[in-house]
Symmetry: C2
Subunit: 399 residues, 2 copies
């Protein structure tokens, strides 16, 4: 069995950590100078490993094994959230590089562009899977207002073709990622074998009442949109546990009262709400529960409107890939692994629509992620790569 070089893997990760260092983490937003530098550096490593490399028209870095035969694709992403961690994304692409080098064949490697959504949603992997139109690219801008077209132009990727998946080429897709939660650490486990990536439904919930003077408007005649909102949000917390599954998560991420002044009864209020689960039926039940709450709230003095702002479907990981990952985990870390869903989105959920897919998690210290303090013990990083390499080794020769 081929062995990966743990020290080389850690050196690669430290090199990436040096491109856009922020505190102990990294600030490397999509198509920033640092991100472009990281993509070129990574392309050079893939080429050195003997792969045929392209950076395509959306910024994907793809290294292809030039030998004939079906391949296993391993990938993740290179850009980071703002002022974020050194492993979110980088871990998975460094694993791909190290495994391609160590196994010596049968592996393609991809660093997908903009998984973190600075410009769009899973832009690189969706482009590769034929799910991004030129019109969508025309529309995308980052928070600073820079258009994706201009960013691609500045990065030097604008005039290149976008790579498209050839499903016949691939046996499947593997992705490793830090857990971004504390479950593995809490249970003293080393490896998570992902069963499915959750789907999400995202909402903007709008409450319309009547703006008034907070001193002169009696309680009995108020149509306070803020009160309608807090009652609604509290009712979600009371109702959802009875409808949700054990793994469902739901979050009110933002609330805005208008005009937001101390002495004015809010005439309008908005909340940003989402829920996630791996089971489409559960997502449907929660949608019905939310609509039910809105119906009840509309009996009150304010008007409540649910606006669905987005949804992603849950993506099941392939049974055979889960089995291969579990067998490798048991060999390398007996009894220190579990199957678990992914509560966060990953490129694997996009690739799963085109080929068999599997995902592996390594622990996150304290569950911290999307923050520069994000970290994983070196030995866990190396162990994760050994497990993924063993699974890849088994899967690259499978039928």
């Amino acid at each position: 069995m081929a062995e990966i070089d743990g020290a080389r893997l850690l050196r690669d990760l430290q090199t990436l950590r040096g491109i856009g260092t922020y505190e102990t983490g990294v600030h490397r937003p999509t198509f920033s100078a640092e991100d472009v530098e990281a993509r070129h550096w990574f392309a050079a490593q893939l080429a050195e490993a003997g792969l045929a490399v392209e950076i395509d028209g959306i910024g994907n870095v793809i290294g292809r094994d030039p030998a004939p035969g079906r391949k296993l694709l391993i990938g993740s992403h290179l850009e980071t959230q703002d002022h974020a961690g050194w492993l979110d994304g980088a871990l998975g692409v460094a694993y791909g590089l190290e495994i391609a080098r160590s196994l010596g064949g049968g592996i393609d490697v991809a660093a997908w562009a903009d998984e973190e959504g600075h410009f769009g949603s899973f832009l690189g992997s969706r482009s590769f899977c034929g799910l991004v139109t030129e019109a969508e690219i025309d529309r995308c801008r980052n928070r600073a207002g820079l258009s994706l077209r201009d960013a691609l132009q500045q990065a030097g990727f604008a005039d290149r073709p976008r790579a498209m998946v050839d499903p016949a080429r691939y046996r499947g897709y593997l992705e490793a990622h830090i857990e971004q939660g504390a479950e593995l650490e809490d249970k003293a486990l080393k490896i998570g074998v992902v069963t499915a990536i959750v789907g999400s439904r995202r909402w903007r919930i709008v409450f319309e009442g009547e703006q008034n003077h907070a001193g002169t408007t009696r309680m009995a005649v108020r149509k306070d949109a803020g009160v309608a909102l807090v009652r609604f949000a509290a009712a979600i917390e009371d109702r959802f546990p009875g409808t949700a599954s054990e793994r469902t998560v739901w979050t009110t991420g933002n609330i805005r009262l208008e005009p937001g002044a101390p002495s004015i009864v809010p005439g309008r209020a908005e909340m940003v709400f989402q829920f996630r689960d791996t089971d489409p039926a559960t997502l449907d039940r929660l949608t019905e529960a939310l609509q039910g709450l809105a119906g009840e709230a509309n009996q009150g003095p304010c008007r409540v409107t649910l606006v669905e702002t987005g949804r992603t479907a849950p993506a099941a990981m392939d049974d055979g890939f889960q089995a291969a990952l579990e067998a490798a985990a048991e060999r390398r870390a007996a009894g220190q692994h579990q199957r678990m869903p992914s509560g966060a989105g990953h490129d694997a959920q996009v690739l799963a629509g085109r080929m068999r897919a599997g995902m592996l998690f390594v622990p996150s210290i304290g569950g911290i992620s999307h923050h520069w303090a994000e970290n994983t013990p070196d030995e866990d990083i190396v162990l994760g790569c050994r497990v993924l390499a063993d699974a890849a080794d088994a899967l690259r020769v499978e039928a």
Copy 2:
């Protein structure tokens, strides 16, 4: 009995409406060019009415009857909220001017600076009552960051003395104002005789939890500051009706979740909360209720802190002044008046600490205020001035 000139009164109000016109209302923030123009115009009218006029070092316009003897002081304010109505403040000072002209003696008139709080809180009337220190003036800034010192300098008022009340001079203080609520209109009444001006307690309520990824953090381990906030705010709505009096009002004016992103469990949250009542004991009971709710909330996963950001004491209006206003109202509008508290703050609550005080309300169409659509029928404006003039006529000769 002296009669006021209704047409002249309406012309004065229309003249003021022309200084800083915005839509059908007025934008005349404290010490803006328009506000300073309005103060000079008003001073000129008072002088023409035979009063000795000064604009003092805080911007108060004060006209004094030069004849010997005790006086009745009538006032309100000239500046407006941003993009607000033409009557809030202007009505009361125009009444003072018209009554001084009509009664021909015994009346002083004041336009207090910055009742609307662009720089401070009731700055002009509090200065007049000896409640504003030079240090407070040093600290005051408006929302644009302009210091009160610089604003006074630009207005040309900086090097003047601040006028101070001589309580021996005054029989008392009268102020008329639009209701800023819809109670008079709803009951088809023309005059409100104010019994007391509510006191208020103002709070910032802070919730501290733990910021986390909204996908990977299981519900059971979350410390969601936003959830703590909405449960707390909803509990206020459930509990306060049992503790409040019939006239108490309470308002959550603003809510902020941090960081406020759709996919991040809020680690910190804040709400701006206030309640108002005319009864100090009720304000104390509500404070205890709020503290009780905070104690209960602190049993949960997040830490709750109540920060009192300000309070004003309730101010009772003088019984004799109420009786004089009610008698005048009954004479001019039999059966079309009521006694009522003021839910909004007014300069009269400050003056009430130094002399007997009374307040009169005229209806606000639709209860609209602090908005350019604010209005009152012309006939109600004139009627209100007749009632105030009759009461002033009676009170100026009283012991």
